[in-house]
């Protein structure tokens, strides 16, 4: 977000840079600034005089700099886009002469973006005008007294993914560095594969080594699957046997997990 200077009365901004007439507001970005310039000059958005608008845009940025307002990088990117469009318009188009390929108007992309942005800006204004819960309209937001005596029972869980990751993030923020580093994408997929492979083996009772490498020949998956099997071995969660020399390798679960009765084993310990 950058600062908008609203000129009052109109037209003052570029002619007379008197700070007294400048009010501070905010622009949401380069597209917003461009729309403002188009509206102010009553230009046809479908036929923007690029040279003119570029000049005004640059003047604006210069003014912001003179006023020591921070000019966000996006504004500069747009400035160079405008200059590029301007120079492309100055070049004679080769395709026109040949007559076959008609080149797209260099402004087309910008016009599309401006129109699109204009729509969402209008949509955001509609959102702003809606009856907001807690501002225009209110609901009962508390544990209803009628239900207080009735203890809540287990129903379906309601949890948002972001809550989960946010909890983890906050937790790690409190932790020493050393404990943090290993949360990488590849660790994730090995963990994922470990659970998959284990579930598969437990499910079948016995699984063929080759079966685990069946789905797709993706090299990455092969490696990850292999690492998962090694890890499962290391953790002694599966046994690997070979029934004869060069025979098929069999994987069997070493531990039959009983999720229904876990507390007896460790949780109370």
């Amino acid at each position: 977000m950058t600062t908008r200077l609203t000129e009052e009365p109109t037209g003052l901004l570029f002619d007379d840079r008197s700070l007294y007439s400048v009010k501070l507001e905010s622009f949401e970005g380069p597209l917003d600034l461009l729309l403002h310039l188009i509206r102010k000059n009553e230009l046809n958005i479908y036929d923007i005089p690029i040279a003119d608008i570029t000049r005004q845009y640059l003047e604006y940025i210069q003014l912001m700099e003179e006023l020591n307002l921070e000019v966000a990088g996006e504004f500069l990117v747009m400035a160079s886009t405008l200059l590029q469009i301007k120079s492309r318009l100055l070049l004679p188009t080769a395709s026109d002469e040949e007559g076959n390929e008609e080149e797209e108007d260099p402004r087309a992309e910008l016009v599309r973006r401006l129109l699109e942005y204009q729509r969402y800006k209008a949509a955001s204004l509609l959102l702003r005008e809606r009856d907001l819960l807690g501002r225009e309209t209110f609901a009962r937001k508390f544990d209803p007294p009628d239900l207080i005596d009735l203890a809540p029972d287990e129903g379906p869980l309601e949890l948002e993914l972001f809550q989960l990751i946010d909890a983890f993030r906050k937790l790690l923020a409190k932790m020493p560095e050393a404990a943090i580093h290993q949360v990488a994408a590849d660790t994730m997929s090995i963990a994922d594969r470990i659970t998959q492979v284990l579930a598969f083996i437990v499910d079948r009772g016995t699984a063929l080594f080759d079966e685990l490498f069946d789905e797709g020949c993706n090299r990455e998956l092969l490696v990850v699957t292999f690492l998962a099997i090694l890890e499962l071995c290391k953790l002694r969660m599966i046994n690997i046997v070979q029934d004869e020399r060069y025979g098929s390798i069999l994987l069997t679960p070493a531990v039959i997990a009983e999720p229904d009765d876990p507390e007896g084993v460790e949780l109370n310990g």
């Binding site: 599309r112 729509r119 819960l133 937001k141 009628d146």
Partner: protein, 196 residues
Amino acid sequence: MVDLKQIVESLIFVSDAPLFLDRICVLLEEYERGEIREALMALTADYRLRGGAIILAEVGGGYQFRTLPEYAEYLKRLTKSRPPKFSQSALETLAIVAYRQPITRAEVEYLRGVDCGGVLKSCLEKRLVRILGKKDVPGRPLIYGTTKEFLELFSLRDLASLPTLKEVQALGERPPDEEQQELPLGMEEEVENGEE
């Protein structure tokens, strides 16, 4: 006299979040879905006709009793919590996510022309936007969508009850000529059908 309309009324009244028709049907399995729907309509009409401060509103896909905006002035005196406020950048981001979901951060930023990471994050924290998963393109970027809470907050029944982008544009400036037709921006249908 205990009849369905009153039962439904009591359920919605004590529920701490909008109550969905589906949920009511599960709770009141001795009644038909059609009957329950009728009771909801009758109840909505009752509250309108009563002319009280409370109406039965359909928000976020469910039913909830809400006060009419006329009373906000008085209710502000009662509640300690400050009313929700939104920056223009948050509203633009929410509008884009609402109309274009599922959408990636890069797509939101392209449409707005500015960085949106911070805004997206605060929308996630406020639970107005949620992570829908990852997009099946290289890099697997996260994709975002709006939440039930978003609909509740903005008193929207569902995403389809957002004005279509065509309607939105009609409210803005009229384009000077027909040239507009040439630009393939129309995704109104997509937004409408894309829902659920």
